[in-house]
């Protein structure tokens, strides 16, 4: 074995780029900006990250990464523990099941794929939330979250693509 420990460490760190970038993005959405027009406008970057990395780098972003990301979102957001884990796992299953239809297609198709998967995930979250609290949230706010997240997808995907091409392109899929 010719690899030095630094090379091994670098390789390990590279493999962690998807989960680290997802964590970074999630943490950034929790930054308080004190802007009134951002009320209820927080994009669901955890869902974007899970979809993107599961679609393109399933080998580096498995179900345990999804589970961990969900736990972090749950503990930061104050949502019931397990809520986001459950929803992100559901999204993971959806992406694995239907991702093969979009992952070799142009970007627009993968964007539409995200719109469809996120719609199902958000609907699922809404149902779980409603059952948990026995109250229905307003559809209007759900729609705003959906629209903002779908609109911001290209930006996050672009960032993830940069990370993929810059640091992970030489890794085997």
């Amino acid at each position: 074995m010719n690899d030095t420990w630094i090379e091994i460490l670098t390789a390990k760190l590279k493999n962690m780029i998807p989960i680290l970038s997802a964590l970074g993005l999630v943490l950034m959405t929790f930054i308080e900006l004190h802007l009134p027009f951002l009320h209820n406008l927080r994009p669901d970057v955890a869902c974007i990250s899970v979809y993107f990395w599961v679609l393109y780098r399933l080998d580096l972003f498995g179900i345990f990464s999804t589970f961990f990301l969900g736990l972090v979102v749950d503990s930061l957001s104050g949502a019931p523990f397990g809520m986001n884990v459950f929803v992100l796992s559901f999204e993971y299953v959806l992406t694995i099941s239907y991702g093969s239809y979009v992952n070799t297609k142009p970007f627009l198709i993968s964007w539409l794929g995200f719109a469809a998967v996120f719609f199902a995930a958000l609907l699922f979250k809404w149902v779980v939330f409603s059952v948990y609290y026995r109250v229905f949230l307003s559809f209007w706010h759900i729609f705003i979250t959906y629209a903002v997240t779908v609109l911001i997808y290209p930006l996050i995907a672009r960032l993830n693509m940069f990370l993929q091409n810059r640091y992970l392109a030489d890794e085997g899929v």
Partner: protein, 286 residues
């Protein structure tokens, strides 16, 4: 031709099966966590505490550039506002100087009457000021995280004000970080009364920017702009704290607009009124 018998399933099929099994186990674990959190498990609270203590300092560091940008924005906005505010303040000073002389006489009168009634005043409220370091106001939850010193002895259940209006209460304490459940969160239920009519009700958050006033009674005389204050029932909030104003009246519901702009809050006052409330008792018991 001899038929080849297959005793075992192929390795790839086995791997696929294991992968599906793991996904199913994870999903069931998540469902289990949800059910446990419904039962308010103490172990989950500890797990949440560990994650919060680990991640909140990172958010605090990430917050610094955003704070810088906001600081500049605020300075520019303040300069623009100074002229307008000065005009208003001049008018207010005139009004206050008139009221001050009236208050002096009322205060003396009040002291005399209190002495006659052997009235014992309630203890003075103490407060600590805390900076909001992270926020979560999405469609599924409305809470913020504030930084406090551990020495300040902030406890679960304490009232959180922006300057003078109620914005929430302490939901949990994780070392130097406290989670504040905002009044707009779906879990927030506060006993209130309409200041003008003294009619009681429950003010409930619903994860939107307006609050719902419930259980007000069908014949209660509620008008647009009525001030909604805490009633003091339940022993968590003292009476008379402003929460918001009636903004819409429907046949079966009343909307209340919070008095403070919750999204714009940068610093909050965590107030201890020295009330022997149920939440604090529960905290001590734990």
């Amino acid at each position: 031709m001899k038929r080849r018998r297959v005793l075992f399933i192929q390795l790839s099929q086995f791997r696929l099966f294991i992968r599906k099994l793991v996904v199913a186990v994870v999903m069931f674990s998540a469902l289990g966590l949800l059910i446990l959190s419904r039962a308010d498990s103490a172990h989950l609270g500890k797990a949440e505490d560990i994650v919060s203590k680990t991640l909140n300092p990172i958010i605090r560091v990430l917050q610094l550039p955003a704070d810088g940008v906001y600081f500049c924005y605020e300075k520019v906005r303040d300069v623009v506002r100074v002229y307008y505010d000065n005009k208003i303040l001049k008018q207010r000073v005139e009004t206050l100087s008139r009221l001050n002389s009236k208050n002096q006489s009322l205060r003396i009168e009040n002291e005399l009457l209190s002495q006659m009634l052997h009235y014992t005043p309630p203890p003075e409220a103490t407060f600590v000021t805390a900076k909001i370091v992270a926020g979560e106001s999405d469609v599924f939850s409305h809470s913020v995280i504030a930084y406090v010193s551990e020495k300040q002895n902030v406890q679960k259940g304490q009232v959180v004000l922006d300057n003078q209006n109620v914005v929430g209460r302490i939901e949990s304490v994780h070392g130097n970080y406290v989670r504040i459940l905002l009044v707009s969160d779906i879990n927030s239920k506060i006993p209130v009364l309409i200041e003008r009519t003294r009619g009681r009700g429950i003010l409930s958050g619903n994860n939107t920017e307006t609050l719902k006033l419930l259980f007000t009674g069908s014949n209660s005389d509620i008008r647009l702009g009525d001030k909604v204050v805490t009633s003091g029932v339940g022993g968590i909030f003292p009476s008379g704290l402003t929460i918001g104003y009636v903004s819409k009246i429907y046949t079966d519901a009343v909307d209340v607009k919070p008095a403070s702009t919750i999204d714009m809050i940068e610093y909050v006052k965590i107030v201890s009124y020295g009330l022997n409330n149920t939440l604090l008792k529960e905290n001590e018991a734990q």
